[in-house]
Amino acid sequence: MRPADKLVRVAAGFQCQIELERAGQIADCRSILSLLTLGATQGSELVLRAQGPDADEAIRVIRLMFDQQFDDLNVEQST
């Protein structure tokens, strides 16, 4: 729940469209319900996709969040 919550907050800060895909199912990163419906748990394989003006930056930040396991470092500030 907490990672999904953080992810939505971060995604909302970008203009671009951000999607996560798991096993063919695609979720909109702005929608927590959509993210939760993916049913992704630790270890799930996900594909991150972004389209729009700040797509590169979005990918970089969200990647960092996953790498740091949504912990400690306050990622929101780095956006």
């Binding site: 729940m1 907490r2 999904a4 919550d5 939505v8 907050r9 909109d28 702005r30 929608s31 927590i32 319900l33 959509s34 939760l36 419906t37 049913g39 748990t41």
Partner: protein, 601 residues
Amino acid sequence: MIRTFGCDRQPINQIDHFSMLELQGIAVSPGVAIGRALVFDREGYRITRCLVAVGEDEREWERLVDAVKQAYDKLETSRQSTTAQLGERLGNIFSAQQQILHDPHLQSELESLIRSKTYSAEYAVSEVFTKYASAFRKATSTFLSERAADIRDVERLLLEGLTGQPTATLKQLPHEAIVVSHELTPGETAAFDREKVLGICTEAGGPGGHTAIVARGMEIPAVVGVGNFLHNIRSGDEVIVDGHLGRIIVSPDEATRDHYMQRRRFRQSIATQLEEIRDLPACTSDGVRIELMANVEFPNEALSCIARGADGVGLYRTEFLYLGHDQEPTEEEHYQAYAQVVRDMQNRPVVIRTLDLGADKMGMTMPTEPENNPFLGLRSIRLSLRNPALFRIQVRAILRAACLGDVRIMFPMITTLDELRSARFLLRSVSEDLASEGKHIQCAVQVGMMVEVPAAVLMLDRFIDEIDFVSIGTNDLTQYTLAVDRSNDSVADLYQACDPAVLRLIQRTLQIASEKKKSTSVCGEMSNNPAYALMLVGMGIRTLSLAPAAIPILKKAIRSVTIGQCEAMAWRALRLSTAREVDAFLMNQLAGLVPEIVLQA
């Protein structure tokens, strides 16, 4: 069970909350209730109304936007105080719920239901959240299925904001009300607050379902199987539940309300007359004694049996022990439930029927394979014989309780001689066990079988030497004879206990049992109807078992007639050819013989 409401199938111009609406359903628990409706959705939460008039959608949307804002602020308060007291980790639970509230997908779904389908804000919330919650609950990951609870929390907050009051659940009704729902689960009905529930009315369900059973047990007027109508009623509407005629009236006009008020006064006036004969025996005017026993569901009903002047308990259903509980009842739980009734009945006979679960009464404790035809499936005695460990526990408790009074044991739904013999074999082995443990047991417990399958009637001459008594369960006997599932709305009208075919089976049962001097009683709903009951007496039945609340009126009827009049009634009824003729004839006879208890329409 997820079913869809009939809402969007109805043209909107039919929605008129001000004119009277009359609906026909199946009467399952007698009595008339007049009160305000509380409408529950399929998850047991209250919804106030379904659709709004065209043009009101903008107002509904604004109400929702307000409610979202309110809910968000409440969550923010909770988040801050929880974070301050317990740390950010727990505080973040609320921040996730805030995210759900602001979820763009959710918002657009809500908006589309309100704007293009004229759903009320409450109804839209209920629909959308139910959809998400059930999708999450179905998910295999426990993480996700637990999130369903978060979704429900947010929904409750929103509904509270919209209605301005805490959401009522079936367990905690805010005030006296008539409960209106699509269907009620065994757990919901078992948790009912008798003081607050004036009447029950459901879209689905049938005469043998748990709603019917619990309503009868609690003496709450109830009508089930009404069909789709939740879109035509909202919480707060005045409703009349007529549990005699199976009728529901929403927003009654003055004439209708007066009519029912008059009936209520009529019933109160005969209640005094009935009170006068409470301690007199149920004898025909020429002195033939008829035993009037009570059908009970719950241990605490024994006292109301005594108050109604019952001669004993003719059918103690034991299914309540299994309904609404997560675990199998222990031997001690069985024993306490039986002991209470046996003690309260003070040496009057108590007939305990072993587990009759299965089909529509399936409890939650025994997951079985889904069946195509549950009524023809693993139910009742079949289920018990298939689970001997569970069956033994119940039989042990019954035998122990038998030391406290006149306890008789009865096996339901016996179809073949093998089943009867297996059940008796288990009974013998349990009593040997108890004896070898040094437990004092009553050795002369009478054993009976229910006759409710046509095969048992046809073969009764072979069964009869192996049992002490017979009890005819007219509900199942009717259903199995006429091949009608009484919980199926489309064919429920074909279910007629007075069908000549059923009467012939009853007649044959009586004939065989009386040749061998074995007592025969009738314990189905048929005995609740005084007209039918007098006919049964005329056929030779001397023991009837019925809902405690129906005993006084039947006693009145019996005391008003001679046995000759009953016999004449039976003789003529048995010569008619259709259920409709039989019913009309019997009702007509009753009106002639005992006019005091028949309210002229």
